[in-house]
Symmetry: C2
Subunit: 328 residues, 2 copies
C-alpha cells in the first residue's frame, strides 16, 4: 500500500483530501488511526472490500496514498528530511489559504469515483476527533495506456519518466527512516479554457510546444520523439519557441532530473476548470527550480493561475497485510 498510487499510471478517478490534525493529538493516536485505515482499505485495494461503505462495489484499481505536511513533524516529534518545508511563494501566485497546505494528505485513486468517495467515507469514519477536512478536491483523468489529455485538449504527461528504473530513480528517497518515501507537490491550477480555445491550433501548439493531435514535440513526428531544444527554423528562430511551456519545463535544464506528474482535471462551481497538478519527486527543490523558470517565462502563464499549493512527505509503502505507520 502507498506506492502504487505514485508509480502506476493514474486511473480514472481521484479524490484528494488535505486534512488537519486536531490540536493535542498524540503520535500514537495517529499511528493507531493509520493502522485502522490500512486494515479497512487494504483488502479493497486487492479487490476484496470488506468495509460496509464499499459493499457491492468493484474496488479493483483502488489505491490510498498518505503523506504528512510540513507542520506535522514538529507537533508529533517526527524526524523528517529538512526538505519538508512549505513551497516558497512565486511571483504571479494567486494562492487562497483555504486551498493550501494540510497536516496530512490522502490521495485516493480508483476506476470508479463512487469507490473513491466511499473509501473516503471509511477514512472519515475512522478519524473522527483526530482529523478535520482542510480541503477536498475530486478529479479525473483518462486511464492509460495513452497519455491523458488535459482541459486545454493537449496530452499532458508525455515527458514523464517511463521505465520502472527511471521512475524509481525520480521518486524514492534512498536512505534514512523515510527510505522508499517521496515528496508530493500539489498545485491547484485554474485554466482559462475558453480563451485558450479561441487561439488557432498552430498558436496553441506554439504555447504548449507539442502537436495537439499526436502530442509530438514541435521538433519531431511522434509523441515520444526526443525534444530537440536547439533545432532552428530557416529564419534562425527556434522550432520550439523560447517561451513554449514544454521548453521551459524541460528536464535538460535540471541536468535530466525528473519528477512523476499525475495531473487530474477538475471542475468547481460555475466557472472554475483546472488541473490538480500532483508531482512526486525525491526532492521538492526540483519543483521550485522548474516553477521558477516557468514563472519567469512561459507562454502558458497568460492562461493559467495557481490558486492552491501544498507539499507532503509521502509514507513508504507496505506489503499486503501490513499497516501504514509514521516513520522517523
Amino acid at each position: 500500500m502507498n506506492q502504487a498510487g505514485i508509480t502506476d499510471p493514474a486511473p480514472r478517478s481521484l479524490l484528494f483530501l488535505a486534512l488537519d490534525l486536531v490540536d493535542g493529538t498524540q503520535r500514537r493516536t495517529v499511528d493507531r488511526m493509520l493502522a485502522d485505515w490500512s486494515r479497512a482499505i487494504e483488502p479493497a485495494t486487492r479487490g476484496k472490500p470488506d468495509a460496509p461503505e464499499l459493499t457491492g462495489l468493484d474496488t479493483t484499481g483502488l489505491t490510498m496514498t498518505i503523506g504528512v505536511g510540513p507542520g506535522l513533524p514538529g507537533r508529533l516529534g517526527l524526524t523528517a528530511p529538512k526538505e519538508l518545508a512549505p513551497i516558497p511563494p512565486f511571483p504571479g501566485d494567486r494562492l487562497r489559504p483555504t486551498l493550501c497546505g494540510g497536516d496530512l494528505a490522502v490521495q485516493i485513486c480508483s476506476n470508479d469515483p463512487l469507490v473513491s468517495l466511499q473509501a473516503a467515507q471509511v477514512l472519515t469514519r475512522l478519524s473522527q476527533g483526530v482529523l478535520t477536512i482542510r480541503w477536498r478536491l475530486p478529479g479525473f483523468t483518462q486511464p492509460g495506456p495513452s497519455t491523458p489529455r488535459n482541459a486545454f485538449g493537449f496530452k499532458d504527461g508525455t515527458g514523464n519518466p517511463r521505465t520502472a528504473a527511471d521512475i524509481s530513480d525520480a521518486v524514492w528517497i534512498s536512505e534514512g527512516p523515510w527510505r522508499h518515501g517521496t515528496f508530493l507537490v500539489v498545485r491547484r491550477i485554474t485554466m482559462d479554457v475558453q480563451r485558450f480555445a479561441t487561439l488557432p491550433a498552430q498558436r496553441q501548439e506554439a504555447v504548449i510546444g507539442s502537436r495537439r493531435d499526436t502530442g509530438a514535440p514541435l521538433t519531431g513526428h511522434a509523441e515520444f520523439d526526443e525534444v530537440d531544444l536547439f533545432a532552428k527554423n530557416a529564419d534562425g528562430t527556434y522550432v520550439l519557441p523560447v517561451d513554449a511551456h514544454n521548453r521551459r519545463a524541460h528536464a535538460r535544464f535540471d541536468g535530466g532530473r525528473q519528477m512523476v506528474r499525475r495531473g487530474f482535471t477538475y471542475t468547481s462551481g460555475n466557472d472554475e476548470t483546472g488541473l490538480l497538478f500532483l508531482a512526486f519527486m525525491k526532492d521538492p527543490g526540483l519543483f521550485t527550480r522548474v516553477q521558477t523558470r516557468l514563472v519567469e517565462q512561459d507562454a502558458l502563464n497568460g492562461f493559467i493561475q495557481h490558486i492552491g499549493s501544498a507539499v507532503f512527505l509521502m509514507l513508504p509503502g507496505t506489503g499486503d497485510g501490513a499497516v501504514l505507520r509514521l516513520p522517523g
Copy 2:
C-alpha cells in the same frame, strides 16, 4: 439526438448546465444557436468528433439533451404545455436560489468526464452573448447493466420502468408540438452519508426498504422481485415499514404511473455529498404527488435535504444529421 439521454441507462459521467438567456435575445437567435450546437456535437455522439475541443477523445456514448425552463415560453413566444410551471415548494425544502431554475437545461452524458467537459466548452463557445451559466454540476454513476449505487451504498433505480414500451409510456408527451418531448425534474439533494453510515445495516435497510447487498425488496429475495406492500410480520407490522422510502415512493400509490430516474452522485466543496436527482416523466405533476408523500413521511428525511430544484420541458429528439429547434 436528445432522446438517448433520457431513455438509455445513464453512462458514467454527467455534466449538467442550467443556463439563463441574455435579456432581449430573440427566438431565432436561440434556434440558430441550437442548430450550431447540433452541428458541433451530433457527429461526436456518433463517435466522430470534429469540434476542435474534442480532438483525440473517444466520444462513444456522448449524449446532449436540451430543455427549456418555465420562464422561456413567455419570453420567446413559444407555445408550451401548461404543465411547464415551477415545482411548488414543499415543507422541509432548503432551496438555495442560485442552485434552482434556469431558462435552458443541457444534460451532457458520456463515458469520460473529459468528453463531457470538452463538449460543454464547445457549447459555451457557441453561445457567447446568448446564454450565461446559472448553475453547473458534474456527477457520476456506474455504467450498467447493474443498477448503480448511491452515496448511501444502496442500489438506486431498481423501481424504474425496464421495458422499452414502459419507458416510452412513462416519458414521451403523446401529442401537440412537443410530441416526443418530456419533462425533466431536477433536485439537488444533499446526503448525510456519515450519519447514515453509523446506522446498523438492518436499520439502513429499514430506512430504504431494500437489502443493501442485493437491492432486493425487504419482502423478496432478488432485486427485481415485486414489492409486496401488504406483507406482514407475525406481530402484525408491515415487512416493508410504513415509513420506508421505497414504500412511500412506490408507483402503486400513483396508479402505476412511473417516471424514469437517472440519478448521479456529486460532491461539492469540503463536505457536500449528494444526489443530483434527474427524473423524466410526461407530467411533472407525478413528481409533485410522489414528493408530497415523501415529505409527509419518509424515514430517509432525517438524512437528506433538497437544496436545488428545477423543471424543464425537454425538446423532442432528432434523427442523425438533423438539428434541434424550439417547437411550439
